[in-house]
Amino acid sequence: MSDPRVTGAIRYAQDVEFEGMLHARVLRSPYPHARVLHVDTSAVPDHIVALTPEDVRGLGSYGCQIKDQSVLAVDRVRFAGDPVVAVAAPTRLEAEEALSLIDVEYETLPSVYDAVEAASEGAPLVHEHHPISDNDAAYFGMRPQQGTNICHRFRIWHGNIQEGFDKAEVIVEEMYRTAGAQHAHMEPHASVALWRGDRLEIWTGTQTPFNLRMDLAGIFGIPEDRIRIICPPMGGAFGAKTFVRYEAIVACLARKAGCPVKIVLDRNEEWLTLNRHPAILRIRLGARADGILVAKQVECWVDTGAYADCGPGVAQKMGYAAVGPYRIPHVWVDSHCIYTNLPPNGAFRGYGAMQAVWASERTMDLLAQQLNVDPLELRLKNVLLDGDRFCTGEVMHDVHFIECLTAVADKIGWADHQAGKGLCVLMKGMQTPSRASIVVVANDDGTYDVHCATAEMGQGAWRSMRLMAAELLNVEPNRVHFPIPDTDIVPYDTRTTSSRSTYMMGRALVEAVRDLKKRGEIGYGECVNKGGLDPDTGQGIASTHWHQGAAAVKVQVDEETGKFQIGKLHTSIYAGRVVNRPGAELQNEGSMIMGIGTALFEGITFADGQVTNANLSDYNIPAAGDIPDITHDLLEREGAEIHGLGETALPPVPAAIGNALYSLGIHVTELPMSAEAVLNAIDHKQTQHAAHDGTASNPHKR
């Protein structure tokens, strides 16, 4: 009984094959913004199927939150990489060659690549209208600003911000930037589509089978039950395999060709498919002289690229996450999701929290320095406790920020001396509202089948579900089977995102097993969490429970080169109760390692709207040699709720490192913290030292 991952026997979507299947390739726009004047596919040989904008013009538009996409770019391309024509041929090579036979005439249009610029008056418009999606991924009040590039605006009003700053005795303010990043899941996007009569069947690596089905039904104008989505395990996803990616293109090709069609992306195409939102955040934070926080103002400019995808949701989450796990009587947040002519950005492990925590927690250390207090003490004095109200009005429960902070501080010897050390605390919401449902079937041979839509992307969800089911059914885990999710069989689930599955589907499973024991052969269970935020006031319930954690780090800096070494990195993450211990450890370690990549070197670079590092040679991801001494602990409490662990340890890593540098007087505001950026900050420090400028409220402000 060897694991299929060590024998190589595991089969991903990219391994799915059908008799007579064709292979698809996509012709992409070379221009960031242009009108498509003419598409000529007449030179493509007859046995190769070409799907043109004319073929998809009559189909529905789609988009999980804003309906701004068509299957291929019709009349206009909005980023360099926007799909214009797709072809399907007996081999990939033939398909690739056919692309060179297609002639497309463009007329270029003015374009915009910076979120702040794009949000300004007079900027070229990426989309003229922002229709709100009917997909249930548009689960909150959307506030598109028609006639601008802002496709969602989220605000929080809590207390009276002016009054708050009037009461503040110390105020710090800073502006931060984070670079775009690529998920770089090892298995590229892969999908196979075929039509069985009037039914569409898709095999695809997806975290969101039901959202995908909803959008495809809208595109083809057919009922959802005529679409079947089957989800093999994925070779990594990290948020990239969500909503509609290439499924609509292969479905159209399969319909036109009359046979199954498969697409597997080339690596460089991943940078043109979905990335992490680059963001700009401005934070203004005020406190009394005794260190009690009184006012916080947060502005976010979230660059969602050429299509909204779930950017509105990311902007919303970034907005409240940037307030941080603190009691602050006066809070004002204004977060904008903004179109630019860059490749689309979407869900990425952390979902806006990393950018928010970077800005928010760096600012806490600026304040600590101004107040001349210990950054740990400042946090301990202000963190939310059970029964406190967050700025959204919701009352906090089961919060453990103090334990997380003290655990990480102890691990790096915070009490001894603090130069070269930094720490960070965070809270991250879980998808609210949402619904999970599950069916458990008892087989005659004493085994059980668990049917649910929870996707496996390496996070270990299927193992966790089997372990929980085995415990509830009082059988060995090998008697519990978990067939790959198939929307013809499994009941509805919101999606496998936001570290919600072990908690939400786990609770549904408890109900299903209870039902099974009552009924004998089959049991159904569901779990619903209710809530949501008013987009204009930010009041309501952001999350029915909170992912919580802290990180601490020691660094050594070479002031000659700007290079620095991480001596030790520790995170403490609240788990409540651990279900699958190796899986939980792997999620923490993997999140920390991805956080190191984000902190130190990962960043997508552009020149005139073109990605300039779309390969794993120029865009580095962490290798074994990049891993410092990393440790972590999973905080558990008897009888506590399960807390998801898929993302929590990523967002605190960059900020903890940034704060460690700041403890040495090196103030970096942009991610990644390359040696060059650190060296610039060192130069800046030395210049300031020479100038003896200590009068501004923030001496390090750029």
Partner: protein
């Protein structure tokens, strides 16, 4: 052109184009799916196979160059090789996509250096990327496998 390999112990004959990469041939003609495409430029190691015992990125290795060679993939190790066992026992994977390439690289490392230090392990794994970030447990798995190879239990964590 006609090429001969010995793949996982069996002699095979395949028809390949002169400009085809070995990765394509292993997956398409020989159905060896443990050899996987990721970066396409020879940096990530997901397409690793052993050619005459040496780990090679098959995505940039021309298929005809391996004519007459012995090729090993994870399918050829069966399911109970000490390195496979060590990876499984240490839970040294998440999505599993990079795992076969890792296992082949580690097998070669331990044959050449039965007692690698942490630094030597990290250097040896430099050409095998794991985006899930399982490196802590992968390094533990290498040490466990090393112990199993040499029968030295003190190396087991």
């Amino acid at each position: 052109m006609n090429i001969h390999y010995k793949v996982n112990g069996a002699r095979v004959e395949v028809e390949v184009d002169p400009d085809e990469m070995l990765l394509e041939v292993l997956r398409r003609d020989l159905d060896l799916r443990s050899v996987r495409t990721t970066c396409g430029v020879g940096v990530c190691g997901a397409c690793t196979a052993l050619i005459d015992g040496e780990p090679v990125s098959t995505c940039i290795y021309l298929a005809p160059l391996a004519d007459g060679c012995e090729i090993t993939t994870v399918e050829g190790l069966g399911s109970d090789h000490p390195v496979q066992r060590a990876f499984e026992e240490e839970h040294a994977f998440q999505c599993g996509y990079c795992t076969p390439g890792m296992i082949l690289t580690v097998k070669t490392l331990l044959e050449e250096n039965p007692h690698p230090s942490d630094e030597e392990i990290k250097v040896a794994l430099g050409g095998n990327l794991c985006r899930c970030g399982c490196y802590v447990k992968i390094i533990n798995a290498v040490k466990r496998a090393a112990a199993a190879y040499s029968g030295d239990p003190s190396l087991v964590r």
